[in-house]
């Protein structure tokens, strides 16, 4: 552990911009929901009605988690049901970035050769992430108490946020030990996150399978019910999980060599297959893992969302009082439509993450020196860039197709559900185009594309609630996607979005031809 202090400072320095962003971004989100709901509901009765409808709507439960009460605090916590997932993601990416990614790039070797203990790097990454999560928890508790919410509930919510970070910091630490590349470590971590979400969802939507949610760290987080029951049990479980994962990662670290993972690599072919001889073939080899992984994930989402969709209507029919509320907003058909429109929007945003990730591969290739090797052969910049961009455009299309198709088949109405998913594509392409534009014109800042996605997510989560001006909402391409199923379909916005995406992508590719590589 010698040298942990110095490495910790290094971690904090490298993350001095990004860390405050997620600490405060997630930290003030519950407060934002409180503020939004306060203006949304004119009377307490309206709020109670809203809570009653929501608590009985399986679709909402699937997306946001279970809802037990109708107080302002409980509603805010419930609507922020995605936030623990996002905190988990931030935490695990931070840990991987400062452990496996460094080790892969050889920086660790430099550091470990100095007077630094074996565990120092892992310890520094974990302490930084745990500290950031703690700070985020304090921000949550502070802002919520400041907003006049009950003290016990606010502290419980702060603890929930903090533990979400701690648990997935541990998961990230284990993933970093198991794999030998940062990319596979991230993938493993995200898969763990996805599995926890799906288990949670599966357990929450049906009473006789609730045990599923108890198998999931995300499920525990939802079972604390801040401002309601303020359960300590699930929180203790989460804390134990965090401690165990960290312990396991330290054990794994002690039992492997530097640079190696525990999942060993195998030998491959001595010559290239005849097909591996073009930039596109190379791009296929580099992107296919991503494509298969994302498509499998989207297929799973499709099955889950489709399966849950069928019970939305059933549940509505079962509970008489709720039915009346439903009919006020357009009948049970409208509820199903709203549900599938929401899931499609969520899938669209996730697909945009895939698009950005795939387009940023180009930047990885440039920074690792691989691009230099390819561009010194008779492959031109345009061809090279396009060979990657095509996967950023078609990959999300395949993923959304899989999701929409499976959701539709499971639900029993393929057309409208599939159309809702595919309608997201032009907006997804805009983000791929933005990424290409950045890679071409401002490569050092290419990862700003993630910021663009974060902005879209934020606008979707709180934009309408906080009654932002329309022009602000219009900045997100997802604002322009027709509300399907249920809404009226107009092709014009989709055509325009596609044109914008094409313009961004085209300018990016042309700019790539004119600049230095690597830059």
């Amino acid at each position: 552990m010698t040298g942990t202090g110095r490495l910790l400072r290094l971690v904090l320095r490298r993350d001095r911009w990004i860390m405050p962003l997620w600490i405060f971004g997630f930290g003030i989100l519950p407060y934002v929901y409180i503020a939004g709901f306060e203006t949304l509901f004119a009377t307490a009765q309206e709020r109670v009605d809203y809570a009653r409808v929501s608590a009985a709507n399986t679709g909402f439960i699937a997306l946001y988690g279970p809802l037990h009460g109708d107080s302002l605090g409980e509603l805010a916590v419930w609507r922020g049901g995605f936030v623990p997932l996002m905190i988990g993601l931030a935490a695990l990416l931070t840990v991987v970035r400062h452990t496996r990614a460094d080790e892969e790039s050889g920086r660790t070797e430099l550091v470990r050769a100095t007077v630094v203990g074996r565990y120092a790097q892992l310890a520094a990454a974990l302490i930084a992430t745990a500290g950031a999560s703690l700070l985020m928890g304090l921000v949550v508790a502070g802002t919520m108490i400041g907003a006049g919410q009950p003290v016990a509930g606010s502290i419980a919510l702060g603890v929930v946020f903090m533990l979400s970070g701690w648990m997935f910091a541990g998961v990230g630490a284990i993933a970093a030990q198991l794999t030998s590349s940062a990319r596979s470590a991230r993938t493993l971590g995200v898969v763990a996150l996805g599995v926890s979400f799906v288990l949670r969802l599966g357990g929450d939507v049906s009473d006789d399978r609730e045990f599923l949610a108890w198998l999931s760290p995300i499920g525990w987080v939802h079972r604390v019910f801040p401002y309601g029951e303020n359960n300590g049990g699930p929180a203790v479980l989460a804390l134990v999980f965090a401690i165990v994962t960290v312990g396991v990662s330290a054990y794994l670290l002690a039992h492997r060599d530097m640079g190696a993972g525990l999942l060993a690599s195998r030998l491959g072919p001595a010559t290239a297959a005849a097909s591996l001889g073009s930039p596109l073939a190379l791009a296929w080899r580099l992107h296919r893992g991503l494509l298969f992984g994302w498509t499998a994930g989207f297929a799973a989402l499709g099955l889950v969302f489709g399966g849950v969709g069928s019970s939305v209507v059933q549940l509505a029919a079962d509970s008489g009082g709720v039915d009346e509320v439903f009919s006020r907003i357009g009948g049970s058909g409208a509820v199903t439509d709203a549900y599938f429109a929401t899931t499609a929007a969520v899938c669209g945003l996730i697909a945009a993450c895939y698009a950005v990730q795939a387009a940023l591969r180009m930047r990885d290739e440039e920074q690792s020196g691989h691009a230099e090797a390819v561009l010194s052969t008779s492959v031109g910049r345009f061809t090279w860039g396009a060979s990657h961009l095509i996967f950023a455009l078609l990959g999300p299309a395949v993923a959304l197709l899989a999701q929409g198709l499976l959701a539709g088949v499971v639900h029993g109405t393929v057309g409208p559900v599939l159309a809702a998913s595919l309608a997201q594509l032009p907006a997804v392409w805009v983000l791929a185009g933005v990424t290409m534009l950045l890679v071409g014109t401002w490569p050092k800042m290419a990862s700003l594309a993630w910021g663009a996605i974060a902005a879209c997510v934020l606008l979707l989560l709180v934009g309408s609630l906080l009654e932002f001006d329309q022009w602000v909402l219009d900045l997100s391409p997802f604002t322009h996607v027709p509300h399907l199923p249920g809404g009226t379909f107009t092709p014009l916005p989709l055509v325009l979005l596609t044109a914008v995406a094409a313009a961004f992508g085209g300018v990016g590719l042309l700019a790539l031809r004119r600049r230095d590589v690597p830059r």
């Binding site: 491959g268 591996l276 190379l282 010194s376 230095d516």
Partner: protein, 297 residues
Amino acid sequence: MTEAIDVEGLVKRFGAVTALDQLDLRVRTGEVHGFLGPNGAGKTTTIRVLLGLMRADGGTARLLGGDPWADATALHRRLAYVPGDVTFWPQLTGGEVIDLLGRLRGGLDPKRRDALIERFELDPRKKGRTYSKGNRQKVALVAALSSDVELLVLDEPTSGLDPLMEEVFREVILEEKRRGDRTVLLSSHILSEVEALCDRLTIIRAGRAVETGTLADLRHLTRTTIRAELTGPVNGLASITGVHGLTSEDGRVAFDVDADALEPALKTLVAAGVRSLISQPPSLEELFLRHYTKSEK
């Protein structure tokens, strides 16, 4: 076309840093040209400009008779490049990388490829990440050398190779040289390698060529060390311009002498009567050290 590479007054800036400052470089067709300079002198940058990866801010560059920026893809069919910092895709094996790069370049000779893999004792079945530094370098070398091209651009191609493999590399380059029609631009920090392989060389410092010519030309520019035992007293040696660091003791003298002052210095010694004489030609190391450490301008 007798010049494979013709660079004149090349300027390249990175923000405030001027990496290349009026650089001149001429490489004749069929020669092995050494490209030397201290770290950060601008070797890699020059090579990237020559490959059309970077655009120059000033000066002219011609490569195989074409414009390296505008005609990049066409020119790249006729050359092969070993980058200074070699890393390959973790998903691909060494063998796949060799074949892929060869095909992207426009084709490779499978027989030559196999022969090179054998000579470099490379296991082509390993995946990118699992190669050691030296073995990654071998993959890059085999990939470049397997194609039948006019020009090889090698940026520190032997960094990380063990002495045995370094020897194999030299043999291969000497074979290429014997064919007479392949041009090689070899950036290197290994002086014995440059001495063994290069016909001519260019030394750059701070983005400028400070010396260019054959090894013999360059040697000529430097000092020979003379040690002599004399039978009688010697006069006037110190006053010859070009004699440096003279020491004398009990009839033994030692000094360094510039090439043009060699004759008068020797005449003076002979006049005094020589019992024994040792003359040491300038070592390459000294030559470089002088160029590398010379103060600005």
